[in-house]
Amino acid sequence: MLAPTEPASTEARLDPAHSQGTLIGKRYIDAQDRVEMLCTQGGQGSLTFEGVAMTVKQAKALPSSD
């Protein structure tokens, strides 16, 4: 797992083609399930990998164990 180190640039403009939004706490995977990302701060932009939109991974719900 990688730690986020650099704060995101505030200068960038949102590309309307990538404005579906990204939700805090959701995991995003690419179509072939090679890359998985966790959104730690939500925003209007959306994620792509190799030009293809990443989708929300549906995690299997586990019972609370603590």
């Binding site: 805090i24 706490g25 995690a59 164990s65």
Partner: protein, 500 residues
């Protein structure tokens, strides 16, 4: 990171309650940043806690993470001398505590002791705190927990940020709790389950209610008063809660989920609990300090199916710890390290991101392929359910507390009339396992069990006092001169059965 996400997504939700005091997620985040500033300012290398559950527990846990020093909760059940030895190993450190626990202690130079009340007063502020936006290095130590080793000298288990995160991200869905949900944290802060409860509740967005010290009546009353929906208990706590259920006029209508672990659950206790609380989901969680808490679970549906089934294979699952979490691989191996098949007992090995398997003094205990030996003995059934059958070594697990027989034996042997002694676990309805002992007296001496029990009580904690002492002519040894503890354990078990 976990707290930052919670504070971002639901800043005004109540994060925790202790008595009449509460903090929102935003307030908890601010207080943790303030605590981090204090830790950095004093140049401490550890953020230690010697206290019962209170608001200070999550504040210091997250504050230590922001300051990039390990959080080190200490057991208030230790004797003064044991604590002084541990404090010596933590210099330089800040220690959040109360007079009740440090009043009689010699605090070594380099340990800055802070009263809990002063600590909380100093960190609660409405002034904005400068956020650096940085996270600690994921490979740096997040938590250091002292566990009782086989020799009796506590080992410092290290959990790195990446281990704890791997467990939380792998087992909890972010923000999955409704605002009305509340979890009752009744395990002590120095137990890995207490730490896991803080982390997973924060990530789920579930309000934490801190219970300072467990007592069945207080637990039930707090459940009712705070509309508790979730709780974690060790088997001993559950046994006391269900004993109390009949006598207490309380409503547990909000309670939906009880998770349990930390020791062997007697079948009679869990069966009674399932019948007395038909609307509650029970989850058995098996884990170790070294694995960042839970590695296997037996889900609520599997409990109910086992209770009602006529199939003996399904019925016996109530005695299983369930199946490994998705992020955990588990193997049972024989003494030569070969992987065993279904129903063949051996030692349990695990591998996964949450498995830390590391001690401060000895370094990583993982093998080259990343496997960790749990030292738990057990087997897998054909469906992949994990069954445990005691420790591979002889640690006595009494009510979730690990007790090394060695220290009890040393004290017994120090008695002028004792020539030989062995301590071992024996089955207990109340504790899962209790301490028993067999002793040989010197010729011409006579002492009763009560006198030896008093002797131990004066020198060790009360949990170390053998509940049953057998007097023998000699103790069983093998030809290598090693005492056959398993034989003593069998004799103790037989004696316990006779007494019932």
């Amino acid at each position: 990171m976990l707290l930052d996400m919670a504070a971002e997504a639901f800043p005004n939700r109540i994060a925790l309650t202790s008595g009449s005091a509460s903090l929102t997620y935003r307030e908890l985040q601010t207080a943790a940043h303030r605590a981090a500033e204090r830790i950095r300012a004093c140049g401490c290398r550890h953020a230690a806690l010697l206290d019962t559950n209170s608001l200070a527990v999550p504040v210091l846990l997250f504050g230590a993470a922001y300051a990039a020093v390990p959080y080190v909760p200490l057991s208030y059940r230790l004797t003064g001398r044991e604590l002084e030895e541990l404090l010596d190993r933590l210099i330089p450190a800040t220690l959040v505590t109360t007079a009740e626990y440090v009043g009689a202690l010699r605090i070594p130079a380099g340990i800055e002791a802070v009263e809990r009340g002063d600590f909380l007063a100093n960190v609660s502020t409405v002034e904005p705190v400068h956020h650096t936006g940085e996270y600690p290095d994921p490979t740096s130590p997040a938590i250091q927990l002292f566990t009782s080793g086989t020799t009796g000298k506590p080992k410092a288990a290290i959990l790195r940020h990446q281990n704890a995160l791997s467990y939380i991200l792998g087992s909890v869905e972010f923000g999955s709790a409704a605002e009305t949900e509340a979890t009752l944290i009744a395990v002590p802060p120095y137990h890995v389950a207490g730490i896991a409860a803080v982390l997973s509740s924060t990530y789920a967005g579930r309000r934490m209610v801190m219970l300072p010290a467990f007592d069945a009546v207080q637990w039930l009353r707090t459940c009712a008063a705070e509309h508790i929906t979730h709780a974690f208990v060790v088997p001993t706590m559950l046994a006391r809660i269900i004993d109390q259920l009949g006598g207490e006029e309380v409503t547990l209508s909000a309670l939906r989920s009880i998770a349990y672990g930390g020791g062997r659950m007697p079948r009679t206790v869990i069966e009674r609990a399932l019948r007395l609380l038909p609307a509650v989901d029970f989850t058995n969680a098996y884990g170790l300090t070294e694995t960042s808490s839970t590695i296997c679970l037996l889900a609520p549906g599997e409990h109910r199916a086992a209770l009602d089934s006529q199939d003996p294979d399904v019925r016996r699952r109530l005695g299983s710890v369930g199946k490994p979490l998705p992020g955990i691989e588990l193997q049972v191996r024989d003494g030569a390290g070969r992987e065993l098949g279904p129903d063949e007992p051996g030692v349990i090995f695990v591998r996964g991101g949450q498995v830390a398997g590391e001690y401060r003094d000895t370094g990583s205990m993982l093998d080259v392929e990343g496997w960790f030996c749990t030292r738990d003995y057990g087997w897998l059934d054909r469906e992949g359910y994990v069954y445990l059958d005691g420790r591979a070594d002889d640690i006595i697990v009494r009510g979730g507390e690990n007790i090394s027989p060695g220290e009890i034996e040393a004290v017994l042997l120090a008695h002028p009339a004792v020539s030989d002694a062995v301590a071992a676990g024996m089955p207990s309805e109340e504790w899962g396992e209790a301490v028993g002992a067999a002793v040989v007296m010197k010729e011409g001496t006579a002492v009763c069990a009560a006198e030896l029990q008093q002797w131990v009580r004066e020198r060790l904690r009360s949990s170390r006092v053998p509940e049953l002492i057998l007097f023998r002519e000699r103790l069983p040894y093998n030809e290598m001169g090693k005492v056959l503890r398993c034989n003593v354990r069998a004799e103790l078990s037989a004696a316990v059965c006779d007494m019932r």
